[in-house]
Symmetry: C2
Subunit: 307 residues, 2 copies
Amino acid sequence: MSMPLGRRFVAVDWGTTRLRATLMDTDGQILGRAASDSGVQSVDPGRYEAVLGDTCRDWFDADPALPVLMAGMVGSRNGWVEAPYASPPCAATDLARHLVAVGDGSRPMAIVPGVDCRSPDGGYDVMRGEETQAFGAGVQDGLVCLPGTHSKWVEMAAGRIVRFVTFVTGELYAALTQSFVSRLAEGPDDTEGGAALAAQLAHLPGGLTRQVFQARTQVLGGFASGRAVKPLLSRLLIAAEVAGAREVFPEAKTVRLVAAEPQLTPYRAELEQAGFAITTMEPEAATIAGLVAVAGGLDFSGVRRQP
Amino acid sequence: MSMPLGRRFVAVDWGTTRLRATLMDTDGQILGRAASDSGVQSVDPGRYEAVLGDTCRDWFDADPALPVLMAGMVGSRNGWVEAPYASPPCAATDLARHLVAVGDGSRPMAIVPGVDCRSPDGGYDVMRGEETQAFGAGVQDGLVCLPGTHSKWVEMAAGRIVRFVTFVTGELYAALTQSFVSRLAEGPDDTEGGAALAAQLAHLPGGLTRQVFQARTQVLGGFASGRAVKPLLSRLLIAAEVAGAREVFPEAKTVRLVAAEPQLTPYRAELEQAGFAITTMEPEAATIAGLVAVAGGLDFSGVRRQP
């Protein structure tokens, strides 16, 4: 299959819980937006093309050949079709050579592969969607931090992804707020109180499995209010992530933080505390810029059909 | 109220999920056992005396004055009555002076207080039930390790509790097996495979929030089977706990491990790996010995009525 990409295309960020589509020029101009709650976790196999068509109806009707470039969990085993991982070092143009085409060919549609990484220390990591954001972040040399359910820290060198690691910060937060602090937490969140307490407790000897218990006991002991429970827990987990990243990348100086609130403020604070020089970028902007970068590198030769 | 404790009494371990009653001599001889699934989490307020009566019916009928000594979550805010915490340093006899009496007085019944601990580093910890096991462990000077949902490491000096800390190892295991590895884990567990992999991955730079993600990715990458997922996760969490305890108690040499399988084997292995000299004891034996130690120190003067 060839993918005759015109100046216009649809950039799609299709994750676990959301589908976000943007009508683009390949020079980066945004012409329109559409979105759906039909994330990968809620789309039945065989329904992907229909869901995409419903979301982009007007654009597709207006241009039957409008190409679609997709990133995210849509390329996972549980998505539309599994797109095999690319491996570091890789540039945006490398991803463009390993697109996986979907659909019947009447409209050019392709999924950007994820990236995996076997670290020298024995760790193995995978990402889908964040690789596109990392390219979109526009970092030539330095770290890109992408907070989330499974936060990614991506090391870039000469504009290529050379290594990355994962911290399950968001997942731990979700799991712990549903378990041992669920009955103590009260709203609305006292974000500043939680941050102040975390600044003391993030240095408790014994590590994270000791520290997180404090989100419960400090309230039981009357040293904190229930309104500080969730902010404290969140901040302890973020501090552990940043300390961990400092350990993985001891030489790193600069970080581009790709985050929106409520992650932006606490991550920025912890990163500054750890001595990183920070610039920030909105996640949506990074995704779109990343898809434009991949689209700009398309030479079609590497586009594979699904098996 | 006075509590005319005779030679016989009922030692009760009443935790969140179970009630275990043992008919005892104060010299430690076990005369009978009874148990119930009516843990504190499933007993309605006002039903504690009835549940206890049902469980110990025959013993109570035979001896209307048979005393009952209880430890565990039965003394928590959500239990029969809240027993205020004792604080370190404390001996078994100190707990005996702070019993909280329950019931209408027709039968001597009392709850052993829990212990709290405000560490110099700012940490605050609480326990209910483990303080009794710590005394039952019979350690004069050294550490007692009590693995569990909220593992406790108790520092003993001259037979007194002088300090303790908590690691939420079991809680994290339960929360994580229900979240991001739930779809990958297969049975039966490959315990040895998980332990071998954990030995490599427990030293990954970046800490626990990086390491636990490996329980997912090592399977996705084909480096481990689904049968190793839960054992790997468990072992990583135990290794983090033991490393954390080593950090909290850098000078400690000996540990009495109060554990039964499946915790006993992995904890023993990780403790030995960390250079501790270990002795072991069954949790049930520790509870009973601890209640005997408290009962032996009863002087009744400190027994308080519930408010």
